[in-house]
Each structure stands twice: as structure tokens, then as C-alpha cells.
């Protein structure tokens, strides 16, 4: 049972950032802008917020500081994503080039600034954010141990974001219009929807969520930030596609992948798995192979938003 608790708690550390960032990507792509800059935005969000934490942590601690960091990460992600929005929406640029440029820019910038300010590029921080056990909820048998112990505020925030995202996308005017812009912007335009504005909103949301995802990613897994998120932005993109651009599937994808990753990294601490005598290389490959297999079985109907990746051009028939 202990290892079950452990696996579930640990899975969150993989899944929640993937979930949040993939949801960000979803808003952008459902609005019609391919965002492969998720990786870069995560780095920017993490960089800015961890930096703020490192500056403020002597005067402030715990959840309040975390909330400030969250706001900083969101803001940084949004500001950075503006560049992508401007290029892909106003300038009708190739969205993959723009995203690639941002992915290259972010780590260079984070390193550059960190070095200019403090010589080394890694920014240390004290993790004062972990919640040993959520008051009351943590005491619930089984469930409490599964979900409300050894956790972070951001885990619940991630779940909340999922619920809100699903609602916004499917039940609100904003969501309807956004989706229209991602499927058939000419149609949206012809009914008086400002396609540019909607796409900006989509990209900015993706910036906010990816920036936040960067912070969520770093906090539980290290004690410093080092201008990298280890390719998780690309994995989030994979989760987004795996999740077929739909919130409910994205969460399944994020948890599937996160769980496989957890198993693959935690097997050495789980007797039954470590006794199988499988090499660590194979364990490391398992999440990716499993994902491919699942995809092969579930992708038949998968379909990206039709207009995503195509700059909106009024003149185009």
C-alpha cells in the first residue's frame, strides 16, 4: 500500500505540469496557432518565478510566496508568448519558426540574465511550499494519503485549471469562438468575430499556463533552477496530441504518461519491479513505447484543429 501512495503522489509531480502545459497548448491550438514554444515559455515562467522566490525567500515563505511566484510565472509566460502571438498572428509568420526561435531564446536569455546578475546560471531556492498533509482532508483514510499528503498547492491548482479549461472551452461564448477560429477562421470572421483577438487570447492563455507549468515542474523536483525544463515542453506537446486537443483526454494522457514515467524511475525502490531484472535502459524506454502502443490503438479518429498552423489571411479562399 505504501508504494501505491508513493506512486500516486509521485505521479502528480510528472503529470500536473504536463497537464497544465498541455492545456495551455490546447488553448493556443484550438484557436489556430501551433505553439511549439511551450518549452521556451516554461523556461521563462520558471526562470522569472524562481528568481523572484530566491530574492524574496528571506523575507517571506510558504504558500504566500508560492502564490506570488505563480503570479510572476503566469505574467512572464504571457509576456513571452506575446512574441509568438505577434509573429504568428499579426505578421502571419511561420508558427513553427517563431516557436523554434523562442525555444532557443528562452534558455539563452535565462542563462544570460542569471549570469549577468549573479555569475552562475543556476538559481537556488528553498522549497518551503510542500504540504505535509492538508488539514482535515489529509486525515481521510486512503484518499487522504493518496491525494492530500506530501503535496503542493499547485497540484490542486492544476486540477482546478483542468476543470475550468474544460468548462471555458466547451460551455462559454469565448470557448465557442476560440474553437471556431481554430477550425475555420474565415467562418468566424464572416460572423464578425475578431479572429486576431481570439487567437491572441489563445496564445496568451497558453503563455500563462506554460509559464505556470514551468514553475510547477521545477519546485518539487529540484532545489535550484538551471535554465532547463528537460524537454518537458515537448512532452507536453505530445500529451496535447495524445489527448487529441480535448481537456478530458489530455488529463488521461497526462496521467498515463506521468504514471509510466514514475514507474520507470521508481522501479528501483519497488521490490517487485526491481526484482524483474529488467535493465534501467529498458525501464526508461517503457513510458515512450507504451505511449506509442496506446496511440496506435486510439488515434484512428484523431484530428487536429483544421486551421491550426495556418496564419489567418482574409484574402484566402
Amino acid at each position: 500500500m505504501n508504494s501505491v501512495y508513493f506512486l500516486v503522489q509521485q505521479t502528480m509531480f510528472f503529470s500536473i505540469p504536463l497537464l497544465v502545459v498541455a492545456l495551455g497548448g490546447m488553448f493556443s491550438e484550438r484557436g489556430g496557432v501551433v505553439n511549439i514554444a511551450l518549452e521556451g515559455i516554461m523556461i521563462m515562467g520558471a526562470f522569472a518565478s524562481i528568481f523572484v522566490i530566491s530574492v524574496l525567500q528571506d523575507t517571506m515563505q510558504g504558500q504566500l510566496l508560492l502564490i506570488i511566484a505563480i503570479l510572476v510565472a503566469v505574467a512572464a509566460g504571457m509576456i513571452f508568448s506575446l512574441f509568438h502571438a505577434y509573429a504568428s498572428i499579426n505578421m502571419k509568420a511561420n508558427q513553427v519558426i517563431s516557436g523554434t526561435a523562442l525555444n532557443m531564446f528562452a534558455p539563452a536569455f535565462a542563462t544570460f540574465v542569471a549570469r549577468t546578475i549573479q555569475v552562475t546560471k543556476s538559481i537556488n531556492f528553498n522549497n518551503t511550499f510542500r504540504i505535509e498533509s492538508v488539514p482535515l482532508l489529509g486525515d481521510i483514510p486512503v484518499l487522504g494519503q493518496l491525494f492530500f499528503q506530501n503535496t503542493y498547492l499547485t497540484t490542486f491548482l492544476g486540477i482546478a485549471i483542468l476543470i475550468v479549461s474544460a468548462f471555458v472551452l466547451n460551455k462559454t461564448k469565448f470557448g465557442l469562438r476560440l474553437r471556431a477560429c481554430g477550425e475555420h477562421p474565415q467562418a468566424a470572421d464572416s460572423v464578425g468575430i475578431n479572429v486576431y483577438r481570439m487567437r491572441y487570447a489563445g496564445v496568451l492563455l497558453s503563455g500563462a499556463l506554460a509559464g505556470l507549468g514551468g514553475l510547477i515542474f521545477v519546485i518539487p523536483t529540484s532545489t535550484n533552477f538551471n535554465a532547463t525544463v528537460s524537454g518537458y515542453g515537448f512532452l507536453a506537446l505530445a500529451v496535447l496530441i495524445f489527448g487529441q486537443w480535448k481537456p478530458k483526454r489530455i488529463i488521461i494522457a497526462a496521467f498515463f504518461f506521468g504514471f509510466m514515467k514514475t514507474l520507470a524511475s521508481a522501479y528501483t525502490g519497488i521490490e517487485f519491479l526491481s526484482n524483474l531484472g529488467i535493465s534501467s535502459y529498458l525501464y526508461k524506454m517503457i513510458p515512450y513505447i507504451a505511449t506509442l502502443l496506446v496511440l496506435a490503438l486510439t488515434s484512428k479518429k484523431s484530428q487536429a484543429p483544421r486551421a491550426s498552423g495556418i496564419p489567418y489571411d482574409k484574402g484566402l479562399r
Binding site: 465557442l176 477550425e183 464572416s190 460572423v191 468575430i193 484566402l316 479562399r317
Partner: protein, 508 residues
């Protein structure tokens, strides 16, 4: 005289072409004003300018005498202008309802109130006899139904100036009659209508006045009642057009295409899409499959041409069983296909016109050697076709097909498919969206092909065309052939009865 809308001296350029050259148009309050012109004359462009999709280089727009600025569809909406576009502007994976309310959603705190909207849509669709199911996905309904959705979109917005860009191209005769009635009704309610069509009958039927464009230029505005169809078409094309198809009786010889007990079932639906369809087409005859849209025509064509699999039955071409052959093999064996959806199937919009003209032949000896394209031959050949079929575009064979007008895109497909010298030509709605001049030409081509001994299978929704071009009419209803008729001894009314399932005869 009070004009609701005046478009004065509008000029709109596109790369290589003056789409509108100092064009003016005045719409009276409560009238139906037709806009007539050849393919590529600039009709859609002019309407798009009015609707705020294009910004003209020159010219002014006035509403009720006051100059207004229409920079985008939001503005046009504000001024009560609505438009049904020639190329539908519907989101394929949205429901009918979602498409209708898009842009004018009613909400409570940002949350959609779908229930109310649905009620209104149902009311509207009943009132105007535009039957659609609000919960269907656009991708699941027929083109005709999509057309209705477009109209409902406009009605839902309470627009007072309605633009219909070729709304009838996809409708059945009954639906067209319905639409005409609706349009009349709308003008009675005080709305004014701009109506683009290539069908002179329709203009005669509903329009009050008609403005004619030719090659981007304004030609004339005429009073419809006092002008004959012949005059109209002459004004439009700049020469006399023969409106009546003129042909010798057919003299069919040997069987080219033989279809036996064809049954098609798709995974999604429980019912057969086609049931035991059997017929043959001989060389030297034009066989027409008539029917209301959605009765299995698409499945039949897909099965014949190899775009989808057959559940049961056989298809033979000149005695060879081709039921299981690939698309390419059928092509090479002599089957040609003018597809219904030109954008989905017929053209690669981002290829040049030349490349599109060899889409079915690039692999043949004439255009390829050892796997290398012979660009010189491709270019010469396409220049020939462009000349021969009068395909108009900004930059000749180098034009990107995407930028060509709908009619000219259709001509390109026709040129390609006819020029391959097929054994059998499967032509689905070959004249959809074409101007009378072009239609005349196409019809002549079809008949010439027939006279040269080809078999032609024509799938058409237009009774006119069915009765005037074909030598034999098969009526399809709910996936079955319900009649085999001789067009010379059949009336539109009788055809209508078979098409609607009210009547059927045993067909072997």
C-alpha cells in the same frame, strides 16, 4: 428614389487582375436584385466588399444615402447586412446550432444559453421550411442542408440586407422553389436581397432588377420583367449564347460500364447506403443518375471510382472486373471522374494550374520519363488546355488554383477530365456554379464525347440538365434505382415523383 445600399465606383485589385473595375450597384429597398456575370466576373468580390471581407482600392458605400465605412463583417452586421457565401463558411465539427449562433451568442455571465437559441432556430426553420436538425454536426449533413444552415444563420441575425452568393447551386429543384418563396417572403417583410446566380430562370422568377458584370466591369442594370433571357445572357457574355441543348438522338453500341447488385454499407450507419444497384452504360450514350441529394449518389460514385470499398456486387469496365482495382488502375483503364467537391477532391489548390491539369496524367509517358517530369511538355499541354477550355486566371498556367474563381476552377477540372479521352466519364454536377456560357460549352463537350463513342455517367441534381442532356435517366432513391426513364418522354413533374419516393417502377 430611395436606395438602401449604394456601391459606387468600386475598384478592387488582386495580383494580376482587376476583379472589380469601377463597378457601381444600387439596391432598392425591398427589391430582389440579381447580380449576373460570367465566372470570374467579380461578383463574389463585389459582394465581399459590401460584406467587409475585402477592402476596395477605390469607391464608396452608402446606406440610405449616407456614406458608411465597412471594414469588417462586424461593421456589415451592424448595418444589417448578412451574406450566404458561395463557399460555405461553416465550422465542420460544430453542430448546426453552434454554427448559427456563432458570433451572436446569447449568454449569461459568459456561459452559453443554448436552450433558448435552439428554440429560436427550430422556430425559424419551421417558419421558412428550412428543415435541419440543430444538433447534427455539419460534417454529417449534406451540402444542401449546409446551404440551409447558411440561410438560417442570416435569418437568425435579423439582417435586413441579405446577400445570397449562388445559393441555389446546391439545391434540388423543390428546394429552389422553396427558396424563391422564402426570398419573396423576406422582401415582403421589408428586407432587400442581393442575389447571385447563373440561372437565368431563377432571375426571371424572383428578381426585380439585375446588374450585369463582365470581366470586372460594370455593363448594365436592367429591369428583369422587360428583358429576355437571351438578352441577359448576351449582355453577360458579350455574344449570343445558345440556351437550349441541341443534340442528335443517341446511338448506343456496346456496354462500357456494367454494375451488378452493388451494395454499400458503411461502418457508421445501420442502413445500406446502396442496395443492389444494377445498371449499365453503353458507349455513345449519356446516362443520368437523378435524385435528391443524399440518396446514395455519393456512395455510388465513390464505389465506381474506387474512393471507397464495395460491400457486395461487381463493377465491370469493358468486361473486366474492376471492383477491387485501385483508383489508378481504373483511371488507366479509361475511367474519368469529375468530382462533386472540387476543393476536397478535384484540385490541389496550392499547385499551379499546370500541375493540376496533369493531376491524372503526370505519370503517363507524355509527361514523364524514367520518373522525371517533363516540365516542357506539361507546360505546353496546359497552355493548350487553357486555350481550348478558356480557363481564365491571373497568371495563366502558373496561377495558383487557390486564387482562381470557382467557375474557372471547375473548368480546369473539366478540361483535365475530358481531355484524357476516357472510356467512361463519371461527371458529378459538372456545371455546378458555372455561367451560362460555360455551361453551354460543357454540355457541348459532353455531347461531343458521347458522339465520339464514349459512355457518360452524369450525376446531377438539376432537372433541367438531366432532361436536356441525358439519353437515359435512372432515378435513385434511398440507395436504390427506382426508375429507368426516357428523358424525351418524361416531365419534370414525373421525375420529381420518382425522386421523392412517391412512385417507383421495377428496374432490372
Amino acid at each position: 428614389m430611395d436606395y438602401v445600399i449604394e456601391m459606387l465606383n468600386i475598384t478592387k485589385k488582386f495580383p494580376g487582375i482587376l476583379a472589380n473595375d469601377n463597378v457601381s450597384l444600387q439596391l432598392k429597398n425591398g427589391e430582389i436584385h440579381a447580380l449576373l456575370g460570367e465566372n470570374g466576373a467579380g461578383k463574389s468580390t463585389l459582394m465581399s466588399v459590401l460584406f467587409g471581407l475585402y477592402k476596395p482600392e477605390e469607391g464608396v458605400i452608402k446606406k440610405n444615402g449616407k456614406t458608411i465605412k465597412i471594414a469588417n463583417p462586424n461593421d456589415s452586421n451592424k448595418y444589417g447586412i448578412g451574406m450566404v457565401h458561395q463557399h460555405f463558411k461553416l465550422v465542420h465539427n460544430f453542430t448546426v446550432l453552434e454554427n448559427i449562433i456563432l458570433g451572436v451568442e446569447s449568454t449569461k455571465n459568459g456561459v452559453l444559453k443554448m436552450g433558448e437559441a435552439k428554440k429560436r432556430v427550430v422556430e425559424l426553420s419551421e417558419k421558412y421550411h428550412l428543415s435541419v436538425n440543430p444538433d447534427d454536426l455539419i460534417s454529417d449533413i449534406t451540402v444542401g442542408q449546409q446551404q440551409r444552415v447558411e440561410i438560417l444563420k442570416m435569418l437568425y441575425r435579423d439582417n435586413e440586407i441579405l446577400i445570397f452568393d449562388e445559393p441555389t447551386a446546391m439545391l434540388t429543384p423543390q428546394e429552389i422553389i422553396e427558396l424563391m418563396k422564402i426570398m419573396r417572403g423576406l422582401t415582403k417583410e421589408g428586407k432587400s436581397i442581393l442575389f447571385i446566380t447563373h440561372k437565368l430562370d431563377e432571375i426571371k422568377l424572383v428578381a426585380d432588377r439585375c446588374t450585369i458584370l463582365r470581366k470586372g466591369k460594370y455593363i448594365d442594370t436592367i429591369d428583369v420583367q422587360s428583358t429576355t433571357k437571351e438578352v441577359m445572357s448576351e449582355l453577360m457574355v458579350g455574344r449570343k449564347v445558345q440556351l437550349q441543348v441541341d443534340k442528335e438522338p443517341a446511338s448506343p453500341t456496346d456496354v462500357v460500364l456494367n454494375v451488378k447488385n452493388l451494395t454499400v454499407k458503411t461502418k457508421r450507419s445501420k442502413k445500406n447506403k446502396l442496395t443492389n444497384v444494377s445498371f449499365e452504360a453503353k458507349s455513345g450514350e449519356i446516362v443520368c443518375i437523378a435524385g435528391i441529394d443524399g440518396n446514395g449518389q455519393k456512395e455510388l460514385v465513390y464505389a465506381l471510382t474506387g474512393l471507397s470499398d464495395v460491400t457486395q456486387g461487381t463493377i465491370t469496365l469493358h468486361g473486366e472486373d474492376i471492383t477491387k482495382d485501385t483508383i489508378r488502375k481504373r483511371r488507366v483503364a479509361g475511367m474519368s471522374h469529375i468530382p462533386e467537391d472540387r476543393h476536397k477532391h478535384g484540385l490541389i489548390l496550392d499547385y499551379s494550374l499546370a500541375y493540376n491539369l496533369v493531376l491524372q496524367r503526370y505519370f503517363s509517358k507524355a509527361f514523364q520519363k524514367l520518373g522525371f517530369l517533363k516540365h516542357r511538355s506539361i507546360n505546353t499541354y496546359s497552355n493548350e488546355l487553357i486555350e481550348k477550355f478558356d480557363i481564365r486566371s491571373g497568371q495563366g498556367r502558373k496561377t495558383l488554383v487557390r486564387s482562381m474563381s470557382g467557375g474557372n476552377q471547375q473548368k480546369a477540372i473539366l478540361a483535365r477530365e475530358i481531355d484524357t479521352d476516357p472510356e467512361i466519364l463519371v461527371a458529378v454536377q459538372p456545371t455546378r456554379g458555372l455561367d451560362v456560357g460555360a455551361i453551354e460549352y460543357i454540355h457541348k463537350q459532353l455531347i461531343r464525347q458521347r458522339d465520339e463513342g464514349k459512355a457518360i455517367l452524369l450525376i446531377s441534381l438539376e432537372l433541367d440538365e438531366v432532361l436536356s442532356v441525358s439519353d437515359r435517366v435512372l432515378v435513385i432513391y434511398e440507395g436504390e434505382i427506382v426508375a429507368d426513364l426516357d428523358p424525351t418522354s418524361t416531365t419534370e413533374q414525373e421525375l420529381g415523383l420518382y425522386m421523392s419516393g412517391a412512385k417507383r417502377e421495377a428496374v432490372s
